[in-house]
């Protein structure tokens, strides 16, 4: 019996080990596509892999565009990979890790924040394709403001076609304005008018209400105030070249003389007296309880707070409209106006579009995707609601904002038309380091006394010097 028990134990152990082994082999085989990354869209086949920032739902929403593209180009298979990220910086980080892993996508949706990083290191210029298909592209450029295009020029070459964009305009709560006994601000209101408006709002609603709420970030933070005061935290210059594009597509544009081969931000400018002046103005708003000390991070919480009538004014782009609508805000509950004038009324904007990676398997196919994505047909499919501002002027119309507001939706595109010097977010190839240097000093600069402000700007100048000295 002992022998048989022993045999039983031996068989049982073998069986167990065998089963374990079979289980491991089975699990390995079953998860092989995941282990090798073959399940990543576009990997292992000849599909054009496209990375966008967003959720799986965003990728699914692109399906209609993919289907439409397949009707025009049945020979090109497209797979969209949505990468979830807190902000553009996080998204670019993930793209870079994909590059490091040797599995970069072929096409990436890149915003202004990363435009020069991609142009410098990762992206393929579109010049040859634009020259070749100039006749096809004329209609697109005629519908898109040159300021947006110039934001994607880098050292004389174009790297992306703007698909959507947003300027930092000023949203205001209409009932808060009425309670303060004020009319809609005029188009050319000044920073002094702005302050008076905030003071009136504060007087009308002293409790549980914030007249001006802003977040500490590159878009919509301190930069619009610097631009309005005709300065910036980086010295802005422009590179030569690019004439081929402007002469081909914008020869008759009244702002043709302003256009260049792209923006350059090569030196820090935090020690400019106007930078001090702008920060001091914001410091005054904070000190007098008219504006908040800006918090770090995104402004996601802001939509709910604004929609619940607890915020008077905040700078944001056209992307806010759908968010406010979904948060239950009535279309006449809010409105939008240009950013206030100071020495200028130059606005800040950010734009985004597809970039073809240098490593793309089939650049011609990638170009066809870019060309199709910039068509009216594709853009109408992508932007059925105002969750951003389409780059095509013709799409920013009554129909897009119907039932959602704001009443003065024309402000969005008029920002470019009325203020043609309006410029992109300062985003050199070292943007991540530059943004960190800016953000880390802003809240200190506006939250203390004059001495603290001076110290914070000195620190910012030093940090920016280090950031720009570093390789992108």
């Amino acid at each position: 019996m002992a022998g048989s028990n022993g045999k039983l134990r031996e068989i049982s152990r073998r069986t167990a080990l065998g089963a374990l082994g079979a289980g491991i082999v089975g699990a390995t085989v079953a998860s092989w596509p995941r282990l090798t990354g073959m399940d990543i869209p576009g990997r292992g086949d000849n599909s054009l892999s496209i990375a966008i920032m967003g959720t799986a739902a965003d990728a699914a929403a692109r399906q209609r565009v993919i289907d439409a593209f397949a009707r025009v180009h049945p020979e090109i298979r497209v797979k969209v990979q949505a990468i979830q990220a807190a902000d553009w910086k996080d998204f670019f980080t993930k793209i870079l890790t994909m590059v490091a892993a040797g599995t970069p996508p072929d096409v990436v949706y890149v915003a202004t924040e990363g435009a020069q990083l991609f142009a410098e290191k990762l992206a393929h210029p579109l010049d040859e394709y634009l020259r070749r298909d100039a006749a096809d592209m004329k209609e697109y450029f005629a519908d898109v403001h040159p300021s947006l295009v110039e934001a994607f020029m880098y050292k004389g070459s174009l790297f992306q076609l703007p698909i959507d964009w947003n300027a930092a305009n000023m949203y205001y709560n209409t009932s808060a304005l009425q309670q303060a006994g004020l009319e809609r601000p005029s188009d050319n209101w000044t920073q002094a008018d702005f302050r008076n408006t905030l003071a009136a709002m504060r007087k009308a609603r002293p409790q549980d209400f914030t007249p001006y709420y802003w977040t500490n970030r590159l878009f919509g933070g301190v930069v619009p105030w610097l631009y309005a005061n005709d300065t910036s935290f980086l010295k802005e210059t422009k590179s030569g070249g690019g004439g081929w594009l402007w002469d081909s597509f914008y020869a008759q544009d009244p702002s043709r003389g302003l256009r260049s081969g792209g923006y350059q931000w090569l030196e820090p400018n935090a020690d400019d007296p106007r930078v001090y002046e702008s920060f001091d103005y914001l410091r005054g708003l904070v000190k007098d309880g008219l504006g908040v000390r800006p918090e770090e991070g995104g402004g996601n919480s802001l939509v709910g707070l604004f929609a619940s009538n607890r915020i008077g004014m905040t700078p944001a782009g056209g992307y806010w409209v759908e968010g406010l609508h979904e948060a239950g805000m009535k279309e006449d509950g809010f409105d939008v106006q240009f950013f206030p004038r100071w020495r200028t009324q130059r606005h800040q904007f950010g734009t985004a579009g597809y970039a073809i990676m240098k490593t793309a398997k089939d650049k011609d196919a990638a170009w066809e995707w870019l060309k199709f994505s910039s068509s009216l047909e594709a853009m109408r499919l992508v932007f059925p609601t105002p969750n951003t501002t389409p780059a095509r002027r013709s799409m920013v119309n009554e129909q897009l904002y119907a039932g959602r507001g704001p009443k003065h939706w024309k402000v969005f595109y008029d920002t470019l038309d009325k203020f043609p010097t309006t410029g992109p977010i300062p985003a050199p190839p070292q943007q991540a380091a530059v943004e960190t240097a800016l953000m880390k000093n802003v809240s200190l600069a506006v939250s203390g006394d004059e001495r603290q402000l001076k110290q914070a700007l000195d620190s910012m100048q030093r940090d920016l010097e280090i950031a720009l000295r570093r390789q992108a």
């Binding site: 960190t436 880390k440 280090i466």
Partner: protein, 314 residues
């Protein structure tokens, strides 16, 4: 059956037994290794190789995209001179001192209270309740805390307003943000130390307390002279783990304050992340990582060395 045959058969049996014994011994020798192999392989691939690669990378300049170039000790020299790195290490040390003291103090006090004063069913409840924050994602908790500690609309300031305390700028001033980061970190992590202390307390023999009672020790004296000394091995383990964890703090300050205002809540690991994945300076990030690892090793070694003086084993 002849005698010779019997002898042969016996020899064969003995030979087979000896062979089986030898193969059994051999099996005994390789079997543990076979079981350990997956772990050793995993450790080698996913721990050892990255450590070695990281140390090597500290001597190169590499931005992922271009080929790495050897720069010797330049990365170390640059990070040592970088004021942001210096501040972040100082912040980390201050954070470790305050957070670990609070974490261990709170965990010990609550463990003694729960173990001593409460009925069994409440003990089970509190053990689960105190451990619960640990299983939550630090990032999710921090996002939630951002809302709670919002200066204008946060619940914390709303509650404080009932007792006449004006709105506190929790996340927008250096002191306030550091306090919130520590508070959130301690709240989320003390449950682990709490469980260790509960285990340690359970292992102290009741006779020791009875003996102390007979000798006249009561209340806090009992804990001072019995609980704390006998809990010292647990305290050592808890403090080593708490310090190592705290030195690597990242999620809470990153999500709550992004290191701000200024550099007030920027930690060493945050600077590693920013250097590597935002500035694409993987060599410098590795150099900071190497320095942090050496600091962690030195502190842990010092703890074990000092432990000879204050750890008592029964």
């Amino acid at each position: 059956m002849s005698t010779a045959t019997t002898d042969m058969s016996t020899k064969r049996r003995h030979g087979a037994a000896a062979k089986s014994k030898t193969s059994g011994k051999q099996r005994q020798r390789w079997l543990p290794w076979a079981f350990l192999a997956p772990t050793i392989l995993g450790m080698g691939l996913f721990t050892l190789v990255p450590i070695v690669a990281s140390v090597l990378l500290a001597f190169f300049r590499w931005d992922i995209i271009s080929a790495p170039s050897f720069v010797g000790f330049d990365n170390f020299a640059e990070v040592v001179q970088d004021p942001t790195v210096r501040v972040s290490f100082l912040n980390t040390i201050v954070f470790v001192v305050v957070a670990v003291a609070l974490q261990l103090g709170l965990a010990l006090a609550l463990a003694i209270m729960v173990q001593e004063k409460l009925p069994a069913w409440l003990r089970v409840f509190f053990r689960s309740a105190f451990f619960f924050p640990l299983i939550l994602s630090a990032a999710s908790v921090s996002i939630f805390m951002r809302y709670l500690f919002n200066e204008q609309f946060g619940v914390v300031n709303w509650l404080l307003s009932f007792v006449g305390i004006p709105a506190v700028p929790w996340l927008t001033t250096p002191g306030g943000s550091a306090a919130v980061v520590i508070l959130v970190y301690v709240w989320q992590n003390f449950g682990f130390s709490f469980l260790l202390f509960i285990g340690g307390l359970a292992s102290i023999p009741t006779e020791t307390y009875e003996a102390a009672s007979i000798d006249g020790a009561t209340g806090w004296r009992k804990h001072l002279h019995v609980t704390l000394p006998l809990l010292s091995p647990t305290t050592l383990v808890a403090s080593v783990m708490a310090i190592i964890n705290a030195l690597q703090v990242f999620d809470q300050p990153y999500v709550l304050t992004r290191g701000g205002p200024g550099d007030s809540t920027r930690t060493a690991v945050m600077v590693i992340f920013e250097s590597a994945f935002q500035r694409l300076e993987f060599g410098q990030a590795s150099a900071i990582g190497v320095i942090l690892t050496l600091i962690i090793m030195a502190i842990t070694a010092a703890q074990f060395r000092l432990s000879k003086r204050f750890v008592f084993y029964q």
